[in-house]
């Protein structure tokens, strides 16, 4: 692992020397590096040498990589200029200040962990009903304490070389959820909420880092909601490191309904041990620019990953789903069904890579990507990629792009449904087979409500 080889040399790095030694830095990169230099003595855990070293190492990686441009293959379809042109500062909202929570926080029927601008807010959280098998801690608190167990865990699954946003996150992360689920109980549920407060006219960036461990044989259902309000842009750049032990199961449902002026970049790293199953559904309805990047590694025999999701675009929004599934062990299965529904001048990207190692015989990989274009100006770029080094595998992918069917719309209207309702029915039907994968009824209802809210907005825009 990159992180283990880099730590010793980092310990020796001269603390306090400027991190940015590379010439010709992009102004945005330089600004973030300056933020690191300015905050290095204030960020949680700054008194501990190993924490400082991790941040410094991240800063160097970030400076080396810079923000990707379209020349970078992984970012070819997503232009980051709108993001790099804005100067984002650090959040100022004090952690004990009352915050008006936005509407639309789903009711998950689960203990709730609340983050405002990337910082844990115990005052707004409700962990009373947390079962004994789940341990939830704040990353900031653990860093402050110099918690040694974090040393091996922080960045283990998310190496800073994995990408500029991962490095940026590692450099500036202030807080996050550290969740450990043991097998003692069954069916633990948790709701992790992120609110972008976007107060005033000062754009802010926050970089939450979540560490989730579902131990051998344990089970977790996690709903993650990323919401925000207001017209001031903010950047939510989160990184999640998820480790599933042998026979563990995790259902990970993510709702991204950020404020329409915001930027949302979420990078998830999940490793799945033998006989374990990682089951995720990601719905994106918000943000001006959103990238959902998932790296799932099937590292143990007979493990499985189901990555499903839907991205709904309207206005001039840009939504990007990028997945990399690595089959590193034999007899594993991966299933992906992603749907895009695009109105207005919105654009979507779907990049899905299935990487099958030589050892991963009897791999069963399947990927389906379907797009529904509601307007002639909407666009999707789709890039499936199979990289197979084993010889006994079953891997397939498919992609479709279509419009709403005029005969179906007429049929619905002839039965009395107004045009907007007829289209909504058909959009819902298009999403149905992906959404069906969410077996938890409460969570499915929450996603359906978010879909309906998106359509109300998209339709109002189109009608205007």
């Amino acid at each position: 692992m990159a992180s283990s080889s880099r730590r010793p040399e980092m310990g020796a790095a001269a603390i306090g020397a400027p991190a940015a030694a590379v010439p010709l830095l992009h102004p945005a990169v330089a600004a973030y590096l300056a933020r690191h230099d300015g905050l290095v003595d204030r960020l949680p855990g700054h008194r501990h040498a190993w924490v400082r070293a991790l941040r410094r190492c991240a800063a160097e990686a970030f400076a080396r990589q810079g923000f990707p441009t379209r020349r970078n293959e992984a970012w070819h379809y997503t232009d980051l200029r709108a993001l790099t042109e804005i100067r984002f500062d650090e959040p100022l909202v004090a952690v004990d200040r009352p915050v008006l929570l936005p509407d639309g926080i789903p009711e998950a029927g689960a203990p709730r962990l609340m983050f405002v601008d990337g910082r844990f807010r115990p005052d707004l959280s409700d962990l009373d009903a947390l079962p004994a098998c789940v341990r939830v801690q704040s990353l900031a608190a653990l860093l402050e304490a110099g918690e040694e167990t974090l040393r091996g865990r922080l960045g283990r699954l998310a190496p800073v070389e994995a990408g500029a946003f991962v490095a940026l996150n590692a450099m500036l992360a202030e807080d996050g959820a550290v969740v450990t689920v043991s097998a003692a109980g069954s069916g633990a549920r948790l709701h992790l909420v992120s609110i972008g407060s976007a107060e005033g006219d000062r754009p802010v960036a926050f970089h939450p880092r979540h560490l989730i461990a579902v131990e051998d044989g344990a089970e977790l259902t996690l709903l993650e909601s990323a919401l925000g309000e207001g017209a001031t842009p903010y950047l939510n750049n989160s990184v999640s490191e998820i480790a599933l032990g042998a026979g563990a199961r995790m259902t990970h449902v993510r709702l991204q309904a950020e404020a329409v002026a915001s930027f949302h970049v979420a990078t998830v790293f999940a490793t799945v041990a033998e006989d374990a199953e990682y089951d995720s559904f990601a719905l994106a309805t918000g943000a001006r620019l959103a990238r959902n990047e998932v790296h799932a590694t099937l590292g143990g025999t007979r493990s499985a990953a189901h990555l499903n999701g839907a991205q709904l675009g309207d206005g001039a929004r840009h939504v990007d789903t990028t997945t990399v599934i690595t089959h590193a062990a034999p007899s594993c299965a991966s299933r992906q069904t992603f749907k895009s529904v695009l109105a207005g001048r919105s654009r979507a990207v779907f990049q899905g890579k299935i990487h099958v190692h030589r050892a991963a015989q009897k791999t069963d990989g399947y990927q389906m990507n379907q797009a529904l274009l509601l307007s002639p100006e909407a666009e999707i770029d789709a890039k499936p990629q199979l990289e197979i080094y084993a010889d006994d595998v079953k891997c397939s992918h498919g992609a479709t792009v279509g419009e709403l069917d005029a005969d179906q719309i007429f049929y619905l209207r002839s039965r009395g449904l107004p045009l907007a309702e007829a289209r909504a029915v058909l959009i819902e039907a298009f999403l149905a087979d992906a959404l069906e994968a969410v077996r938890d009824e409460r969570l499915r209802d929450a996603l359906a409500a978010a879909t309906a809210a998106w359509w109300a907005r998209a339709h109002a825009e189109a009608g205007a």
């Binding site: 007429f410 619905l412 039965r415 009395g416």
Partner: protein
């Protein structure tokens, strides 16, 4: 109830209806008969407001209102119903939800209270029994995997749930065996009444043996060339359309 005057329409720029005059008073069932390509289905689609069917002249007055000025959904709310010759499949859309949504959309437009899931189920169960439909059909996607007969029954079920003032049945007999035909005809006949008008579009006389019309009109080349009583259907069955076609 429904008055069509000088109706002409084109499909893809081609004239199909070339001046139709027809009046169906409330309480009456009229049949439109004609060979393939005479414009029968076009008439149905024009009345329901399908896109791509362009009215070039004439008028249609429905319960005192200009039908052609209305959107398809407003025509439905005003009480017009078209039973499709080829009912459209809606994968992913549950039949029960679809029916309830349609009923509530129409009720909303009419200023009536919406029905909840329980009330709806009670209502629809009773209607389904009459049509020999199993409740399992409510759980399926609309028309997906339905046999030809099941699709037609589903159309009649929608009709009996929505209780429109005026029904246009487009080739409802096509693809039905004799038992299904009888069930569908019974369903239609149950809806006959003094306040309701019907236009039954058909190629063959056999449906009219079960749904006996008050008047029969023969559509040929986009015009109504002959009108008469129910006996006209029997005459056409015997002689075919050939003689009329030569005359026209």
């Amino acid at each position: 109830m429904l008055t069509i005057e000088g109706l002409a329409a084109t499909v893809d720029g081609k004239p199909v209806l070339k001046g139709i005059d027809l009046a169906v008073p409330a309480g009456e069932v009229h049949a439109i008969m004609g060979p393939n390509g005479s414009g029968k289905s076009t008439l149905g689609y024009v009345l329901a407001g399908r896109e791509g069917y362009e009215v070039t002249s004439g008028s249609v007055t429905f319960r005192g209102e200009d039908l052609l000025a209305m959107e398809p959904e407003d025509r439905a709310a005003a009480g017009l119903f078209l039973a499709f010759q080829y009912p459209v499949e809606l994968p992913g859309v549950g039949n029960a939800n679809f029916l309830r949504q349609a009923l509530n959309a129409v009720r909303r437009k009419r200023g009536e209270a919406e029905v909840d899931a329980m009330q709806f189920l009670k209502l629809v169960r009773a209607k389904m029994r009459g049509l020999g439909m199993t409740e399992e059909m409510l759980k399926r996607f609309v028309n997906v995997g339905f046999s030809g007969g099941e699709k037609k029954r589903n159309e009649i079920l929608q009709m009996s749930v929505l209780e429109p003032a005026f029904c246009v049945l487009d080739e409802t007999d096509s693809g039905l065996d004799i038992d299904a035909l009888r069930i569908v005809a019974d369903g239609v006949n149950a809806l006959r009444g003094p306040g309701r008008g019907m236009l039954v579009i058909t190629h063959y006389q056999r449906l009219l043996a079960y749904i006996v019309p008050d008047r029969v009109h023969v559509l040929l080349g986009g015009r109504i060339v002959r009108s008469g009583g129910p006996e006209l259907a029997l005459e056409l069955e015997e002689k075919g359309y050939g003689e009329l076609q030569q005359a026209a």
